[in-house]
């Protein structure tokens, strides 16, 4: 089993990425990793710890300032393009992991790896925490801005297959992000998507308001990329604002400072619960022919390890094949 990793994507590359690869190698005895990037720099970090690690030299790096299509076409010697070439050409490579430019990763995935037949819009599906013990995935979270109802239907199918493969849940609860629960609520897009998903055979629980998405009562939240992005970023912003007000208040009251010491365990629990990325690594780009994992730009070594964990689970649970089957079935029915 092999995984290819773009060692030069993200704010903490290459150090944290390479260290993450080493963590993964130590965890899985049947795993080989191919690191793409400047060989000399990678070797320096590896410092001899290169068992089951192959290096694919790539002198260039794609940055967030690069135009994605131009970068994928033009920067053939970049760590990301080299990684895509390897994912494409080698059958035993099951997944690509990168913390680089989102646009470039998505463009590369579509141009180099290709879409599953029937799916016009692959989508990013990050995992978010809920009030309860379960997580919720949001699909799409910003890759697809102007969506049609068929795209939202595909998001529902792919999201359901993903949740099912990741958590071993048979029929995850699929909800459609809307501004009210009644079937007629929302835009033309949501109304059309509602009736498509309703007839899909998925476990569709109907419209779900933004307020409810972290309630633990929905597993797969379907949205167009614009609304999904607003939901994702808006909740990050709100939680950030709350924690910032909390911190400042603690700082300015001696009693609160003392209280905060007693509450260490609670603060740690909150951090763990909210920090889903450490548990699950990146978001897969669903709808491509092979697994492509997009990690957060600020990711650390444990996030890379988590993305390896997730890649292996999704590969073993045959995520790609499941999506292909579901879409094929639907295309056949039409």
């Amino acid at each position: 089993m092999k995984i290819v990793i773009d060692a030069f994507g993200g704010d903490n590359a290459p150090k944290e990425i390479v260290e993450g690869a080493i963590l993964a190698i130590n965890k899985y005895s049947n795993l080989n990793i191919i690191l793409c990037g400047d060989e000399k720099k990678i070797r320096e970090i590896l410092n001899g710890r290169d068992e089951r690690i192959e290096i694919c030299h790539a002198p260039l790096v794609i940055s967030n300032d690069d135009v994605p299509t131009e970068a994928i076409r033009g920067k053939k010697e970049s760590s990301l393009v080299k990684a895509f070439d390897i994912l494409k050409e080698r059958e035993d490579v099951i997944s690509l992991i990168s913390a680089g430019s989102t646009g470039a990763i998505l463009t590369g995935a579509i141009m180099k790896i290709g879409r599953i037949k029937g799916i016009s819009r692959p989508a990013l599906a990050p995992i978010l925490p809920t009030k309860k013990k379960s997580d919720v995935i949001l699909i799409d979270s910003g890759a697809n801005i102007d969506c049609k109802s068929i795209n939202l239907y595909h998001f529902a199918v792919m999201g359901s297959a993903y949740y099912s493969a990741l958590y071993n849940v048979n029929k995850p609860r699929v909800g459609l992000l809307n501004i009210g629960v009644e079937e007629h609520k929302g835009t033309e897009l949501t109304r059309e998507a509602y009736s498509l998903i309703k007839d899909s055979g998925l476990n569709f629980i109907g419209n779900v308001e933004a307020r409810e998405y972290m309630s633990g009562n929905v597993d797969v939240m379907v949205a167009d990329g614009f609304a999904g992005n607003v939901l994702l970023k808006g909740s990050e912003g709100a939680v950030g604002a709350l924690l910032s007000v909390l911190k400042n208040s603690i700082k300015s009251h001696t009693m609160s400072k003392i209280g905060a010491l007693f509450m260490r365990k609670t603060f740690k629990e909150i951090k763990n619960r909210m920090d889903v990325l450490s548990r699950h690594g990146g978001s897969p780009f669903l709808g491509c022919k092979k697994l492509v994992m997009k990690n957060h730009g600020s990711c650390k070594r444990e996030n890379i390890l988590a993305s390896v964990d997730q890649s292996i689970i999704l590969y073993q649970n045959k995520l790609i094949e499941k999506i292909e089957d579901l879409i094929k079935k639907q295309v056949g029915e039409e």
Copy 2:
């Protein structure tokens, strides 16, 4: 100066509404209030405290289950319709306050009071807290689902005038909710709205991501009603989930319980900072010819008082006239 209040709107009506009216009467010696609703029940609560309070008897109540247009047309003897009639007919009544059905209030405002010339879509603009000391208003938050760019432009104008009137700020910073900061980002709608608002003479700071809306760096956040609703409800949901995880964790650790006692002041500060409604009452329905304040269904007496406060400030700072002037100017220029 007179204000009309729907005494039978909301979950805590009529008790909390009537008590709120009494608070307002005690605060403002030059204020008269007209309470609409079942006279006998209102008198019972007033219990003789009826100085400067007039009662307009209305035996019916519009509920959330009523279809708004039918209710406004058909339930002429309801507390809300009576209140609208009074706002319309009496020149010295400066504002209407209701915690009843949002749909009925918006419909009543448009049908009974009418829109400011040039504005096709009035909008709700709730106030939200930020990390800093300032607040941010969100316009629209769900009244208008399918928007055109001209509507978003009007939201920018109305929101700016509202913020300016409420906080005595000369040129509030207006941002457009988008999924990236660059001018070309987002949908056709946001790109068109961007260029309209850019040329408006408002203090337009460009696109603002959902993550930044509580940063304190933007005063007026402009969005279509769908995205605005997702932002508003999504952040409520996320904050609620975080607080719920916090509470459960405190309950399950003795040390944390002790810590929480020490942190009382901090928890109170957070509650006050987050609970903007108590400070500002409801959201005005901007774009109507007179002030219509929509309060939250769960509002208490202090929220009614806050809505009276806000009505008086907005009246004295000539909000309606300001919006009329700005729109007239724009219409003239076209």
